[in-house]
């Protein structure tokens, strides 16, 4: 780092506070950093955290009503437990096989065989997929397995234990196939994205001008509070004072500010976004847990930064170097 222009250090130490953490849901605060970091984390979580998904399908028999490509596409979208995905190889980088998914390092094989024998419509679901690797299986199978382990009795046909529907078969129809699941990232195809939703918002900073607020009658206060479509403000039933009920409910819709102006009280409330703190909401498809998703995202992000830094060490930043005002 011998650039003279890069004098002051901008290094900051972001803090994370986890508010809520469940298997497939997380809510956390990210502070002391800026939007570029927050957005990079979001983008990596959606598109670059690897998972395993069915990628190659070899259909032996398909006499169902859906065509082969449709079934293959549906299979691909089934989330598979991919806790081990970080350790797996991309099949394009795999040296144990020639990328056709025949080795254990880069691929997992699935089999599915279903044939409707009775008059009842047979629903072929993700539960019918048989994996050759116990670590990788459809997420609802894994959940059922864990529930069985923990002793709580379950009926495979109730609730969400039915699995993800692939196709329905009528009497005499048959579906038999071999599928190979491979590691991939959401950038290549959405089926590899472990994130259902990743979003963040700037933490709002709401300041009510108490003096001005006191000039309002209770009815005015009430109508002002109700002007926000979300429940950001509330009126204290005892003191009849307006207080911020939940700042994070605020959607930056400016409705309350417009309302205040309409009421002839501009500056009743001042709302600013805190530029350096973000509230993240993460939901996963179940392929990996929300915790894994966040941690893996940080790992991937670090790897990417490493890649940039390594290039920098070689002094091979090329045009970018010149752009940054280098020698």
């Amino acid at each position: 780092m011998d650039r003279p222009a890069a004098g002051a250090s901008y290094q900051r130490f972001p803090r994370v506070r986890i508010r809520e953490l469940r298997d497939d849901y997380a809510k956390f605060e990210l502070r002391d950093t800026d939007a570029s970091m927050a957005n990079a984390l979001r983008r990596v979580m959606i598109a670059e955290v690897p998972t395993v998904a069915i990628d190659l399908v070899e259909i032996e028999v398909n006499s169902s009503v859906l065509n082969d490509e449709f079934i293959a596409h549906r299979l691909g979208l089934i989330p598979l437990t991919s806790a081990a995905a970080m350790q797996m190889r991309f099949s394009r980088d795999c040296d144990a096989c020639d990328g056709d998914g025949s080795c254990e390092y880069c691929s997992v094989e699935f089999h599915l065989a279903a044939r409707a024998e009775s008059d009842q419509t047979l629903e072929v679901t993700s539960n019918d997929l048989r994996s050759n690797d116990p670590k990788v299986c459809p997420v609802d199978q894994a959940r059922a397995y864990q529930q069985a382990l923990s002793g709580s009795d379950f009926d495979p046909n109730t609730g969400d234990q039915r699995g993800i529907l692939i196709v329905k078969l009528r009497r005499g129809q048959e579906l038999r196939l071999r599928a190979i699941a491979r590691k991939g990232i959401g950038k290549d195809h959405a089926k590899w994205s472990p994130a259902a939703t990743v979003t963040f918002m700037y933490e709002p900073d709401i300041r009510i001008n108490e003096e001005l607020m006191e000039t309002l009658t209770l009815d005015e206060k009430r109508s002002w509070v109700e002007s926000s479509p979300t429940k950001v403000f509330a009126i204290d039933p005892i003191t009849e004072q307006v207080r911020v009920a939940d700042a994070e409910e605020y959607t930056y819709d400016d409705e309350v500010i417009k309302k205040a102006e309409a009421m002839g009280k501009p500056g009743l409330v001042e709302i600013n976004a805190k530029e350096d703190s973000f509230i993240f909401t993460v939901e996963t498809t179940g392929a990996i847990t929300a915790y894994e998703l966040i941690m893996n995202a940080i790992t991937v992000l670090r790897q990417k930064l490493d890649a940039v830094r390594l290039q920098d060490d070689d002094g091979d930043l090329g045009e970018l170097d010149a752009h940054l005002g280098g020698p």
Binding site: V65, T199, Y252, D253
Partner: protein, 1190 residues
């Protein structure tokens, strides 16, 4: 089995749902039903028996057609296995039943009647008609037979193609229309441009148009077409020939509506000129010295005997009687009625000339009716049968003249000649449906000869329905330069949709019936045949009760304005005093509601007016009229009873109000008598599906009607059994959240056509300019807008063999190759991918079936055409008529069509756009609260100029509906209905925005449907709120994969060596003169040279600089020794320099090479062939300065 029973009960419920859908197809099916039920026999009866007179023995034989039989479609003539439509589609055969007619022979008038049944081949049977095996089948049975559960029928299957007979507009039958047309002047000297025209239709639906022309001298001529020629008769002769009458009687009849005391008041149609005119008419007859009826008949007969077929031997009077019967007012049987009608027409003609009555507009729906499939077939079949009789007669007479021993009484002998052409009758009908051409000598009084049928495309359901609801004005009008026919006239209100017409060439000519519009038929609402006689009797009885004076022969008459004539289907029944007429009309309408008279009776009451339409009470009971339901306000409204069917003729004179509770600006003296049921009744089915179309700019709704018919959706549930040449299929369609009432009424959920996409309206990347739109790549990955194209190829080897060598499907016995898609029977395996043959690399999978030549034993594998791989979806073998081995097979190919850049999409509001990018999900803007990323981004500039407000409403409403978990009703004009209930609930009326906005706000969203989004690229909040919400988007069938055309090198034309055209052959797109001019103007000469020369027919020619000839260069064999030497020395063996010699100059000294387009050389050769020498003067700029050149 229990399961089957279980599922039957919901199916039964479903069937009721499809009734609304079936109703749309009823005009087609009912008209064909009538043909089968009664029309056929009626038509056969009306065919004049053929009489053959043996020239040798003077014996006669009378051949009468008696009774027709059409049998349901059978697979085989002998066995009684029913043939189902699905089999016909698969085997590419016709869904037809045998057609037989009983023929009666009568020898020498009094001889015994001998009956024989003749087989006239096969008649195509309309699906769901009375002879169709699927008639009345429940959805279960339909599905079992490979049809849609909703199958509505109404079409024919000819050679596997589904074709329907187009409904055409015809002139209203049996109504004399006053017309002013320039073309009437061309009839001859003395003719004017005014005439009264009546299209008379007989009970067998054949029609004869009679025109009554006005002459400058005040007389009139009666014209009709016979044998390709128009015959013009003085009207006086016809009047006298019709009945035994006197000049006096004619005179008073004509004068009846004139009186000195009238002056020029309201409803006066006649002027004093009429007496002079009547005298002229009578003088004309007198001048020909025709005084009695017989004289007139003889006069007519003399003229017509030569042209009337089959009357060569009859006396003049009989000929004249036949002319009057067959050509003049054929809808009437009684000559007195004809006389009365002719008098009426004369009066109307004079009123038209004197401008006391206005001319009728032939383009207005008021004077039009529909040509229905069953009627067309009846008419055409009659013509073909008459043609058959004519031909057979000629054959028999020839035979009789030739051989002496021929005996007419020998029925078997005669039968031999009669059967010669019988099958041509059935074939003619089939080919008429197949190609749409009506080949007949007489023209059958039809507006056009071809284009009668169209292919019922099942691209999607909207298009399919529209085919059956379309009404065409006639092919002749498409070429007309005037636009008056295309005008949207107020008369078509409620009958033809003002929105649903294509723009461009057929605009206004191809209309669609409004959703509630029906066409009257021979069947009443209970499905029973109506009896014309009974109707006429009961109607005249009722009319007499309300004060009609029946029209009796020989009575002193009066006319308007004192009394009005009462017409029933073109027959003058009597007169009603104009004071009582309103009462009578109201009485008739009450009878209509009570069903004592036909419910679709048209009470066309034209009131007295000051030079308006010619007054009268015109009643119509005939079929093929447009009718629509409205609510009658005069009768006590007890629900169902008050719905009355009205026609376009009466509608023009009725007071119908909008059901919004207002009076529509009417005064108390003219109260509304009727009320629309719902304002959406004016829209067609497709136009009715646009949500809130009343909030859109009107052309946008028209565009949507076009685009709805081009969407790629579910073309049918029975796709598996379909053999369409091309079918589009959307993999994951959805039902729209925002929908109109029509959507559920016509079960559109069975055939969905789009996806609820989350649409953000913002200008985001620049890739959404000019109606481009950005799709979210992840959404596409997850299956949005994915689709397939199914193409069925029917391979029939039996028709292909040219050298009479049978070919069959087979694979080479030696081949053990399993890598190809071809299975052991020579046909492809299901699910196999077939690569295209255009790719450079050879792929084993590019062949998909192989053919074995049974003579040579050669096996010929066939490659797949086109540029993209296909999946084998389905293979069907047709072994019905192959003797040895497989010869006929259907192979259905499936091609994947995932959305790519360049594919076309549209919302339901005429907002189409092309996908410009598949944008990564992470780069799309996202909502901070919900994390939602849009599926689709469109540019805000799409709205201001197009004003598709309903699309914005749809977005808001769909968002609210999605949050609330219910469908939103977006029926247009709903507020003009709800105001009526205002009296009960005053706070009810609310705008859509208010309703949806408060709903959105209650779920914590912005009232106006906007959201603050974050940039997906930078992570910062965007400055302005973005309008985002779900909008139902349709994928259109125009896809780049079917259209892109690119070429660098490839096939060239043999003669000019220029690239060939045509996408199929890998040709280029023409870079024409205008494109050349553009490049010239830019001065981009290098590009110009590249396009027009290097990439085209670049050629290096050898030119002799001495003689300047381009063609005389000949090659001398290059020196073999030199070549060998080169090789020995290891010198680079470039191209050995060719030696050219000018053939004319006998030297190679002057040879130069010149680069030129090859066509230039071709031009030189062509010119040389015409003995013109083309000489080039070669120059080198350095040697020959430009200034020296002249």
């Amino acid at each position: 089995m229990e399961k089957a029973k279980e599922s039957q009960s919901p199916a039964a419920v479903k069937e009721g749902d499809y009734l609304a859908l079936r109703e749309l197809f009823r005009p087609h099916v009912e008209s064909f039903d009538y043909f089968l039920d009664k029309g056929l026999n009626e038509m056969l009866e009306s065919i004049r028996p053929m009489e053959i007179r043996d020239p040798n023995s003077n014996n006669t034989l009378k051949v009468t057609l008696e009774k027709g039989h059409v049998l349901p479609p059978m697979r085989d003539a002998r066995s009684s296995v029913p043939l189902y439509p699905q089999e016909c589609r698969q085997a590419r055969i016709t869904y037809h039943g045998e057609f037989k007619v009983d023929v009666c022979f009568e020898f020498n008038e009094q001889g015994a009647h001998v009956r024989h049944t003749f087989n006239f081949g096969h008649l195509p049977i309309m699906l769901m008609s009375k002879l169709c095996h699927l008639r009345g089948a429940d959805p279960h049975k339909l599905v079992f037979h490979g049809e849609e559960a909703t199958e509505m029928g109404g079409y024919f299957i000819c050679g596997g193609m589904e074709r329907l007979i187009r409904i055409l507009i015809l002139q209203k039958r049996n109504y004399p229309m006053g017309l002013v047309r320039g073309s009437f002047l061309k009839r001859g000297a003395g003719y004017t441009d005014k005439a009264v025209v009546i299209r008379c239709v007989q009970s067998d639906q054949s029609s004869v148009t009679v025109k009554l022309y006005y002459l400058q001298n005040g007389s009139a001529r009666l014209g009709f077409w016979l044998g390709g020629r128009e015959f013009l008769l003085p009207v006086g002769i016809v009047l006298k020939a019709l009945i035994d009458t006197s000049d006096r009687e004619i005179f008073t009849s004509l004068m009846c509506c004139y009186s000195d005391k009238y002056g020029r008041g309201k409803g006066v149609v006649s002027t004093q000129l009429i007496s002079e005119r009547a005298e002229i008419i009578l003088d004309e007859v007198r001048n020909l010295s025709l005084l009695t009826r017989t004289q007139c008949l003889v006069h007519i007969g003399q003229y017509f005997r030569s042209v009337m077929e089959g009357f060569e031997k009859h006396d003049y009077e009989a000929v004249a009687e036949a002319v009057l019967k067959d050509y003049i007012f054929v809808h009437l049987e009684n000559n007195h009625d004809k006389f009365n009608l002719l008098i009426f027409m004369l009066q109307k003609l004079y009123a038209l000339v004197d401008q006391t009555a206005s001319p009728d507009n032939a383009d207005s729906l008021q004077y039009q009716e529909a040509l229905l499939p069953g009627h067309l077939i009846t008419v055409f079949l009659k013509d073909r049968l008459q043609d058959w009789l004519r031909k057979s007669k000629r054959l028999i007479l020839e035979e009789a003249a030739k051989s002496k021993g021929f005996d007419l009484s020998n029925v078997l002998e005669v039968r031999k000649f009669l059967t010669k052409y019988t099958t041509s009758v059935g074939r003619a009908i089939e080919s008429m449906i197949k190609v749409g051409k009506v080949n007949s000598q007489s023209g059958l009084d039809l507006p056009q000869r071809d284009g009668m049928t169209i292919h019922a495309e099942r691209l999607n359901f909207h298009r399919y329905i529209s085919h059956f609801r379309s009404v065409h004005r006639g092919a002749a009008f498409a070429k007309m330069r005037t636009t008056s026919v295309r005008k949207l006239l107020p008369e078509s209100w409620g009958f033809l949709c003002p929105v649903h017409t294509p723009d461009g060439e057929p605009c206004g000519l191809l209309n669609h019936m409004a959703s509630s519009c029906r066409i009257s038929s021979f069947y009443n609402s209970e499905g029973a045949l109506k009896s014309c006689e009974d109707i006429k009797k009961s109607l005249s009885a009722e009319l007499v009760r309300v004060g009609m004076n029946p029209m009796l022969p020989k009575i002193e008459r009066t006319g308007p304005p004192e009394v009005l004539h009462v017409h029933l289907d073109g027959c003058i029944l009597g007169t009603i005093a104009s004071a009582n007429i309103e009462k009578a009309v109201n009485y008739l309408r009450r009878l209509k509601l009570a069903h004592t008279v036909p419910e679709d009776l048209e009470v066309g009451y034209v009131p007295l007016s000051l030079s308006g339409a010619y007054p009268g009470l015109y009643l119509f009971t005939n079929p093929a009229r447009f009718v629509r339901p409205v609510r009658n306000l005069l009768t006590p409204s007890d629900g169902k009873q008050s719905i009355e069917l009205i026609g376009p003729f009466e509608q023009a004179f009725m007071e119908i109000r909008c059901p919004d509770g207002g009076d529509g600006g009417r005064t108390k003296s003219f109260p509304a008598t009727h009320e629309e049921i719902h304002p959406t009744a004016i829209l067609s089915v497709v136009a009715n599906l646009t949500p809130w179309s009343d909030h859109n700019q009107s052309p946008r709704n028209m565009y949507q009607c076009q685009m709805a018919k081009q969407t790629m959706g579910f073309c049918g549930q029975a796709l598996k059994f379909r053999t369409d040449v091309k079918a589009f299929h959307l993999q994951t369609p959805q039902t729209p959240i925002v929908r109109t009432a029509t959507y559920s009424k016509y079960c559109m959920d069975e055939f969905p056509s789009g996806t609820n996409a989350i649409v953000a309206v913002l200008s985001y990347t620049g890739y959404d300019m000019e109606d481009a739109m950005i799709l979210n790549k992840s959404a596409v990955d997850r299956g949005m807008f994915r689709g397939h194209i199914y193409q069925t190829e029917c391979i029939d080897l039996s028709t292909k063999n040219r050298e009479k060598v049978p070919e069959i499907f087979a694979r080479s016995a030696l081949s053990r190759d399993t890598s190809t898609a071809i299975d052991s029977d020579g046909l492809p395996r299901l699910g196999e991918v077939v690569m295209c043959s255009m790719l450079k690399e050879v792929h084993p999978n590019e062949q998909y079936y192989s053919v074995y030549n049974s003579l040579t034993g050669a096996v010929r594998p066939v490659k797949l055409k086109g540029t993209e791989p296909a999946f084998i979806d389905y293979v069907a073998v047709n072994g019905a008529n192959s003797k040895g081995g497989l010869q006929k097979a259907n192979i259905r190919l499936r091609r994947v069509r995932n959305p790519i850049i360049g594919d076309k999409f549209s919302s339901r509001h005429g907002q189409k756009g092309v996908c410009s990018q598949l944008w990564p999900d992470i780069d799309m803007p996202f909502s901070a609260n919900t994390g939602m990323r849009p599926d689709l981004i469109i540019n805000p500039h799409a709205f201001p100029s197009r004003m598709t407000i309903a699309m914005l409403l749809e977005s808001m409403a769909a968002k609210a509906g999605a949050l609330h978990g219910k469908f939103i009703n977006a029926t247009p004009f709903a507020n003009s209905m709800s105001i009526k209930e205002e009296d009960k609930d005053p706070c009810e009326p609310k705008s859509i925005v208010e309703e949806m906005g408060s709903m959105l706000a209650s779920y914590g969203f912005n009232y106006h449907g906007t959201e603050f989004l974050y940039s997906g690229v930078f992570g910062n909040e965007m400055e302005y709120a973005i309008f985002i919400g779900p909008v139902y988007y349709q994928r259109l069938r125009h896809m780049v994969s079917d259209k892109f055309q690119v070429r660098t090198t490839g096939r060239i034309d043999q003669i000019t060596r220029q690239p060939i055209g045509g996408r199929k052959h890998g040709g280029g797109i023409r870079f024409g003169e205008m494109e050349r001019d553009a490049l010239l103007a830019h001065g981009s000469s290098y590009l110009l040279h590249d396009r027009l020369h290097s990439c085209s027919d670049y050629h290096i020619a050898d030119v002799c600089s001495f003689c300047g000839s381009l063609l005389t260069a000949t090659v001398i064999k290059s020196d073999a020794q030199k070549k060998a030497k080169h090789e020995m020395l290891g010198l680079p063996t470039v191209r050995p320099p060719k030696n050219f010699v000018c053939q004319a100059c006998k030297t190679s000294k002057g040879m130069e090479t010149v680069a030129m387009p090859y066509v230039f050389r071709y031009l030189a050769a062509e010119l040389a062939a015409m003995n013109i020498k083309l000489e080039l003067r070669l120059s080198n700029k350095s040697e020959w300065p430009a200034s020296q050149e002249s």
